[in-house]
């Protein structure tokens, strides 16, 4: 694995939390002074779940300021465990969508003044746990998918969430991830390393799909997370079982580009990532300036977190850069949109890590 060859080192701050953290997301700051985080938490002693807004308290040392603590600002009690979390900005206000284990979805708005969080609408949408949701950028429309094989478009109608079922797999398929590509198109991923591309305007089923081969036994797996770059809508990045990260380009649908893991290709001699990849996200950090210079067929860098505790940046035909190697799983992470050098992750051992890259 390539060493992080930066001049000054990466800073990592691990902050133990009183709860298990299912998901973390940066919340775009409401004022210049705040660093805010949204966390889906689970309290094992009371068996309760909540969505919390936490502010990062900074400590000044001689040379720098670093995160010292997370302070609870507000909390929204969730009726059951949060299974997916998405965030968007609606008229400059953070809007959060939380999906839960009982199949319901909740839209939660954060108040810019007192940082309070309140549900603005909710609804029972899925049978069984919702496994993936995504809020459309700058809006409140949600795409949600579940183990039940259903794909729903959820929208807010006078404090109620109503949904339109786009597809019902009748239990034959199971989805685990969803992501908007544009206000009309989105992608989903799930069992058997499958990725599907949908278009609102063309109902009835996916417009195109990549079918992994199920019968490959352990060489097959589940796509847990997908991402689409706003400037590269034709490419879907998917991360899943056995350290698999691949890019599926709509222009060359039959040949996904394997960035890591076994996926559908030949088992590689060694794969830096071996266990479940829980989340993938395009990493804008290094390439934010010169994205236009990169050939559109080249896959942009992708950050991944995995069950074996690795947070890494994966690039096509290059050794991944390992940012963090924890003794426990990294269950979710987020890259700060405003300040892409900062990454936040939730760790299995009831803690949050904040990284700031050089």
């Amino acid at each position: 694995m390539a060493m992080n060859g930066a001049p000054h080192p990466l800073q990592v701050h691990r902050l133990p939390q009183p709860n298990y953290i299912d998901f973390v997301r940066w919340v775009p700051p409401l004022s210049a002074l705040d660093r805010l985080v949204a966390a889906a938490v689970f309290d094992s002693s009371s068996s309760t779940s909540a969505l919390q807004i936490l502010s990062v308290t900074l400590t000044q040392t001689q040379t720098q300021t670093h995160p010292a603590d997370l302070t609870l600002q507000s909390s929204w009690p969730s009726p059951s465990r949060i299974t997916a979390l998405s965030l968007s900005l609606l008229r400059h206000k953070p809007l959060l969508a939380a999906a839960t284990a009982d199949g319901s979805i909740h839209l939660i708005a954060a108040d810019p003044v007192d940082l309070g969080v309140d549900s603005v609408g909710s609804g029972a949408i899925h049978a069984g746990p919702v496994s993936g949701i995504d809020l459309v950028e700058g809006g409140s429309e949600i795409v949600s998918v579940g183990d039940d094989g259903r794909v729903n478009l959820v929208s807010l109608n006078e404090s109620r969430l109503s949904h339109r079922r786009v597809f019902d797999g009748n239990g034959l398929v199971g989805f685990a991830a969803a992501k908007w590509a544009s206000p009309a198109e989105f992608a989903t991923g799930g069992l058997g390393f499958g990725v599907q591309w949908w278009d609102n305007r063309k109902p009835g089923g996916p417009v195109s799909q990549f079918k992994g081969n199920w019968a490959r036994g352990t060489a097959s797996g589940i796509v847990h997370s997908i991402d689409i770059h706003p400037s590269r809508k034709h490419t879907v990045i998917a991360g899943g079982s056995s350290g698999t990260v691949f890019a599926w380009d709509l222009r060359w649908q039959q040949q996904p580009i394997i960035l890591s893991g076994v996926a559908t290709g030949e088992a590689q001699a060694h794969s830096p990532l071996e266990s479940e990849v829980w989340e993938v996200r395009y990493d804008n950090y290094m390439h934010s300036l010169n994205i236009g210079n990169i050939s559109s067929s080249r896959i942009l860098p992708v950050m991944t977190c995995s069950e074996d505790g690795i947070l890494a940046v994966v690039e096509q035909d290059e050794e991944p850069i390992e940012l963090l190697a924890e003794p426990c799983a990294i269950n979710s992470f987020d890259i700060d949109g405003q300040n892409p050098s900062d990454v936040i992750c939730s760790l299995e051992w009831e803690s949050i890590a904040i990284l700031s890259r050089p």
Binding site: S45, L172, D308, S351
Partner: protein
């Protein structure tokens, strides 16, 4: 928590006490109105026991029963659950690192065939381990009381002491830290300074004395008049808290500017004693900032310095100035302090409260050159006689076990007072520090099922970890460090995880992957597959059964599809099983059955196209598929009629006959065969309308006629 034993709630139901005469009786609160009719038990994961309590049926609107969960050996009042988990998480890495170092050293020694497997660096590793664990045990940091230091604050605390940390440090001092063997008494002194307050709960200590005095201090004007002032200083000095003793001495009235002139001599004596106290020679490499004394690293230097210091004290003691000092309390108080430093046993005894304090004072002033555990132990016995305790504190029981060099007592004490966590982790210190412990802990015992005590304690701790949803994933680290039974328990633990939740299942599978437990992996994926299949998630079900490589069940599923196809099917359900065929893949199952299903699917598809439009080309294709199917020997006879019946439309095709003469004849022959087969007893009647056979025959006849005309 079931209060299995005396003072701590840390019950560990560990087989350790060689003869516990009577079982502990604990209440089990269920909150139901009596009468109770019966109980029912079930062990959950790890050591959590679930007890169902059933009430006798009564018409009183009360619940019919309750299920209560009792977790054994888990958490006591001192450390909260969340803190316990933090300790559990934090100790994984140091433990795993030490194990891997141990293993590599063992394998190195096997190669080099040297006598001792552990080199000098082993001690560094053990100490590193011990320190990392020690840091984890740090209590709640107390907020700084005030920015400006209050001159009247005698005791300073940075963190809340806790017994667990105190116990760990005791074992570190006596077993792990080989560097300090020469200055153990000084370490014990430091230890007591940190943890004396913990002992105050059961009986008075120097610490509680000082706390009480500190409270009074604010109200006192001329404190040197007060006997308590001198008592407090003597006590602090006796247990070696030199900085406190000096600080308090300097609160003496003679230091005040307005009195300096009139009490010059008195002040000189006070200061002389203060200087002597702060110059006390100490057998230790260094001191924390703010602590007093002069350090000596080697024994000869120390002895020399000690003798000089003692001579200075004796000289001061015999000084003529005392006669001139007319402040009685000061004179007596200071003289008393000199006596302490000269090692006057009676005065030491009256200055200290707890036997361990007396013990420390003896080590400091009477037997400064004492080293061995044996002499410390006999001294402890003596001190306990002088200052008996009503019920010994758990830390003292532990200390006595250590001083008495009785590993079994130490282990039993750790286990019953501090719980399975400390035992599992302290074993590393114990075995490093004592050959006796090493042998005792690694000896395989038939009574324990062939495992060693070390392994037993790891298994017990792993059980505690297993019983909590957030810590079970740590248990494998400890289980895999067990030579004999760890894997067995790990397999059971993994098997007992709820696999219908994908995330837990995947985390579980990851553990199987790490430890190459393929059989467990296939077991749990099988359970997941069956669960999903039966709960309507057929896709997931097939996926997990494929992961489990469960050919038996997958074949059964293929068989079920097969049976399903036998019936004429609607478009909707066609979609259903078409999806399933897709999922099952193309691997051969049920002897060519799947091949048939695939062909049948193709046929159905083209038939559907025919229905949608009236394209003759499509119909032609469907007819070809039909012929292929009917010719294929793998097509089961029972599908013949449904296939033909589905194809009625093709036979009656308006534009042209789709089948030629020979094809039609083939189908007619099959139909003939079918009519014959119907007479056999094992014939399975297809789920079709009764006139199906005749309508097919009629259609085929029509087609034949047209085909003949065509040719």
């Amino acid at each position: 928590m079931p209060d299995l034993v005396s003072d701590s709630g840390q019950s560990s139901v560990v087989p350790l006490s060689p003869d516990s005469p009577t079982p502990v009786v604990c209440p089990l609160h269920h909150g139901l109105k009596p009468p109770i009719s019966r109980l029912s038990l079930s062990w959950s994961r790890g050591n959590s026991l679930r007890v169902s309590v059933f009430r006798k049926p009564a018409e009183d609107g009360e619940a019919g029963g309750k299920v209560v969960e009792v977790k054994l050996g888990d958490g006591d009042g001192e450390i909260g659950d969340a803190q316990w988990r933090r300790i559990a998480y934090g100790s994984v890495s140091p433990f795993a690192l030490l194990q891997s170092r141990k293993n590599s050293m063992l394998s190195m020694s096997r190669v080099s065939a040297s006598s001792s497997p552990y080199g000098a660096e082993w001690w560094d590793y053990v100490m590193e381990y011990s320190r990392e664990i020690n840091v984890l045990l740090g209590g709640q940091k107390l907020p700084p009381s005030s920015v400006i230091e209050d001159p009247k604050t005698v005791l300073k605390k940075v963190e809340e002491p806790n017994c667990l940390k105190a116990a760990w440090e005791l074992m570190e001092i006596f077993y792990a830290d080989k560097q300090i063997q020469t200055w153990t008494p000084e370490r014990l002194l430091d230890w007591l300074a940190d943890y004396d307050s913990l002992l105050s709960g059961t009986q008075p200590t120097v610490h509680s004395k000082l706390v009480n005095f500190e409270k009074e201090l604010v109200g006192l004007q001329a404190i040197e008049e007060d006997a308590k002032y001198w008592e407090a200083i003597s006590s602090a000095l006796a247990v070696g808290w030199l900085d406190i003793a000096v600080k308090m001495l300097r609160l003496h009235g003679s230091y005040q500017l307005d009195q300096l002139g009139s009490r010059e001599l008195e002040n000189g004596l006070v200061e002389a004693v203060a200087v002597l106290i702060s110059k006390m020679p100490r057998m230790r490499p260094g001191l924390a900032p703010g602590k007093l004394g002069e350090c000596y690293k080697t024994k000869p230097d120390f002895i020399k310095a000690w003798e000089t210091w003692r001579a200075q004290i004796t000289k001061l003691d015999c000084s003529a100035f005392w006669v001139q000092c007319d402040h009685r309390q000061t004179r007596e108080g200071l003289k008393n302090l000199l006596q302490i430093m000269l090692g006057n046993a009676n005065i030491l005894s009256s200055a200290t409260c707890h036997w361990i304090e007396l013990h420390i004072s003896h080590l400091l002033y009477i037997r400064p050159f004492t080293m061995g555990l044996e002499s410390m132990y006999s001294l402890a016995q003596k001190c306990m006689q002088l200052k008996p305790m009503s019920s010994p504190h758990k830390l003292m029981r532990l200390l006595l076990g250590i001083l008495g060099e009785n590993i079994e007592v130490v282990l039993a004490e750790c286990s019953r007072s501090f719980g399975p966590w400390i035992v599992a982790h302290a074993v590393e210190l114990l075995t490093a520090g004592s050959t006796q412990a090493d042998i005792l802990l690694h000896e395989e015992r038939y009574n324990l099922g062939g495992i060693s005590m070390e392994e037993l304690h790891r298994l017990v701790y792993a059980q505690v970890l297993s019983s909590h949803a957030l810590t079970w994933q740590i248990a494998p680290i400890y289980l895999t460090s067990c030579m004999k039974q760890g894997m067995g328990l790990l397999e059971i633990l993994l098997y007992k995880q709820p696999v219908q939740h994908n995330k837990i299942l995947l985390k579980n599978i990851e553990i199987c992957r790490l430890y190459e437990l393929d059989n467990v992996r296939s077991k749990i994926t099988k359970i997941a597959g069956v669960h999903q299949w039966k709960h309507g998630k057929k896709g997931s079900g097939v996926f997990w059964l494929q992961q489990a490589r469960d050919e038996v069940r997958l074949n059964r599923i293929a068989q079920q599809l097969f049976d399903f196809v036998g019936k004429s099917i609607s478009d909707e359900s066609f979609k259903q099983w078409e999806g399933l065929i897709e999922l099952l893949g193309s691997e051969t199952r049920t002897a060519g059955g799947l091949e048939f299903l695939h062909k049948y699917r193709d046929f159905k598809r083209s038939l559907q196209k025919v229905r949608d439009g009236i394209a003759t080309a499509a119909a032609q294709k469907a007819a070809e598929s039909l012929i292929l199917l009917m010719k294929n020997p793998s097509t089961p006879h029972r599908f013949w009629l449904p296939l033909l019946y589905d194809s009625l439309k093709l036979f009656n095709w308006q534009e042209c006959p789709l089948l030629n003469v020979s094809q039609t004849n083939l189908l007619l022959n099959k139909l003939q065969g079918l009519s014959m087969a119907r007479l056999r007893p094992d014939f399975i009647e297809a789920d079709l309308p009764p006139q199906a056979l005749s309508s097919v025959r009629l259609a085929l006849a029509t087609n034949l006629g047209r085909a003949i005309l065509e040719e």
